[in-house]
């Protein structure tokens, strides 16, 4: 099977990307890994066998396993393919929205917005500027266009896209400034037409949801993460041409790695990573 070779070797074994997820022990750094990360790896190995059928993208949430998995799969796949055609008509770019948009960044093209806007109060202008659950002042309030963009997908996937759109920001990706709201717009648009990226975003969103909600299930985000890796492997081994979306998928998968490891390294500081102080410089980008 052809793999995307990265040209490194681990002993006598060639390093290939992405690494097989089943029956493989992670070769990542063991330093600084907590019990939670080890537990995740064990569950990753077992869950990858459980979801071996790459055609079945039925929701992993209990009680939502469809008895008509195949038809739903076909419908979901069709919806993924047609979603991009619909997307050409419904841009997710907040700056292109109509009167419902209340993006503060659009309003502040001039240099003197109203002073009331900045007060931490319950004034309507502040509420409108802050938007809904995203709390990122410069992101538009949620409109029905976004709901249309992925509403027809599998409900589990659609809800994760909703969550990503409303509750995650570029700060979860450790980015410093995000214009024009790439992770809420273009990234999701591309993902709607490319399964590996779609699943990677679902995994990232599911991870954060797992932390946020009491009793969140580790299996959920591992399911999507593994589906993304499997789907990416399939694309790469089929000789799919490398494009932006392939690279974005790798970055999205890597974001998960960074998200889970980086905070622990910052917390544990110098002992495991002498250079960790330089991380404090931020090196923003």
């Amino acid at each position: 099977m052809a793999h995307f070779s990265v040209g490194c070797e681990k002993g006598s074994r060639e390093c290939v990307y992405p690494e097989p997820t089943s029956n493989s022990k992670s070769s990542g750094s063991k330093a600084g890994k907590g019990q939670k990360a080890d537990q995740q790896e064990e569950e990753q190995e077992s869950s990858s066998e459980e979801y071996d059928d790459e055609e079945d993208i039925t929701s992993p949430v209990e009680g939502q396993q469809s008895s008509a998995a195949s038809p739903k799969t076909r419908q979901s796949n069709t919806n993924l393919r047609t979603a991009t055609r619909k997307q050409s008509k419904h841009s997710l770019d907040p700056s292109k929205k109509g009167s419902q948009a209340t993006s503060a960044s659009n309003k502040d093209k001039s240099s003197s917005p109203p002073t009331e806007e900045s007060k931490f109060s319950k004034s309507p202008s502040t509420t409108a500027t802050l938007g809904s659950s995203s709390k990122l002042s410069s992101v538009s309030t949620y409109t029905s266009q976004e709901a249309t963009a992925w509403a027809h997908l599998d409900p589990s996937i659609a809800s994760l896209f909703d969550y990503h759109y409303h509750s995650l920001t570029h700060l979860h990706y450790f980015l410093r400034h995000d214009t024009p709201r790439f992770i809420h717009t273009t990234l999701l648009e591309i993902a709607l037409g490319y399964e590996p990226l779609l699943f990677a975003i679902c995994g990232f969103a599911a991870f954060h949801l797992t932390i946020e909600k009491p009793g969140g299930r580790v299996q959920d985000f591992l399911y999507y993460y593994n589906r993304s890796v499997s789907s990416l492997r399939k694309s790469l081994s089929n000789g799919e041409k490398h494009t932006d979306r392939t690279l974005l998928t790798i970055l999205q998968l890597a974001a998960f790695e960074v998200r889970t490891r980086f905070p622990k390294i910052c917390t544990r500081g110098n002992q495991t990573h002498p250079n960790s102080l330089f991380l404090g410089v931020g090196i923003p980008w």
Partner: protein, 261 residues
């Protein structure tokens, strides 16, 4: 999944698809560059093998943001993006220079010459940020916030601390600037085998701590903001007084962030 594997795979693919000359051509490619650039630095530091991307790529993005700023000098996004790439280049050069000295890759004379240049660049960068800091219409005025703990090492509600709306990213830019100037001051003293100027470093640390705590306590702060400043806590802890109160503050902040997963 191996972090280094991601780093190498992404690097290979980026350099296959683009050159520094073409990578800023589209919105998607620019975001890819920004995203990979940050990941590359972080993965390089975490994995201990350094960044893979050459400086020329960072320059390309900075050149793009500079061009955009010239075209749209009053556009806040253009201004903020330019700040971010300015900082990125200074931080990259500073990290490289400090790494070269112990490896003997630069002579002491050369080191101090280069270091002086970096000091000037940090100062110029701060001057570049100043006009943004004067935009008081974007300042958060705390109302109905939790009462300030009298034992707190900083006052997060001090007027002029936190910016909102389209200037939210300025808060992160300021946190990073204090980290940058603090790190530079500290490492320079070490390189000169002198005692670090702890009083000055503490000033930087307190400013940074104040902004971070304001972020934490303001209900309008965007989701994920504390994660994003996590890496600065270590530096703050290094510079703050080593007494129980200050150590506790840092531990509490790290615990808060670690509870986020």
């Amino acid at each position: 999944m191996n972090l280094l594997g991601h780093q190498k795979a992404a690097y290979e693919m980026l350099t296959e698809l683009y050159t520094p000359e073409t990578v800023t051509a589209t919105e998607t490619s620019r975001h890819i560059l920004g995203w990979y650039g940050r990941f590359d630095l972080m993965a390089g530091l975490m994995g201990g093998k350094g960044a893979m991307l050459d400086r020329v790529w960072f320059e390309a993005r900075h050149q793009w943001t500079t061009t955009q700023l010239h075209k749209n000098p009053t556009d806040l996004d253009a201004i903020l993006n330019h700040c971010v790439t300015t900082h990125g280049l200074i931080a990259l050069d500073m990290s490289s220079l400090f790494a070269q000295l112990p490896r003997g890759e630069v002579s002491p004379t050369e080191f101090f010459q280069q270091n002086d240049i970096i000091r000037s660049r940090i100062k110029e960068y701060r001057a570049q940020i100043e006009p943004l800091l004067r935009r008081q219409q974007h300042l958060v005025i705390f109302e109905d916030a939790p009462e300030r703990d009298p034992e707190d090492i900083v006052d997060p509600y001090q007027p002029g601390t936190l910016y909102c709306g389209p200037l939210w990213s300025l808060n992160h830019i300021m946190v990073d600037w204090y980290s940058l100037v603090g790190m530079h001051t500290y490492q320079t003293a070490l390189a000169m085998q002198q005692q670090p100027p702890w009083e000055k470093l503490q000033t930087y640390a307190y400013e940074e701590a104040r902004i971070i705590e304001a972020m934490q306590f303001w209900s309008g702060s965007p989701s994920g903001c504390l994660l994003s400043v996590n890496s600065s806590i270590g530096l703050i802890a290094l510079f703050l007084p080593r007494d129980e109160k200050h150590i506790l503050w840092s531990c509490q902040k790290l615990a808060k962030i670690e509870s986020m997963g």
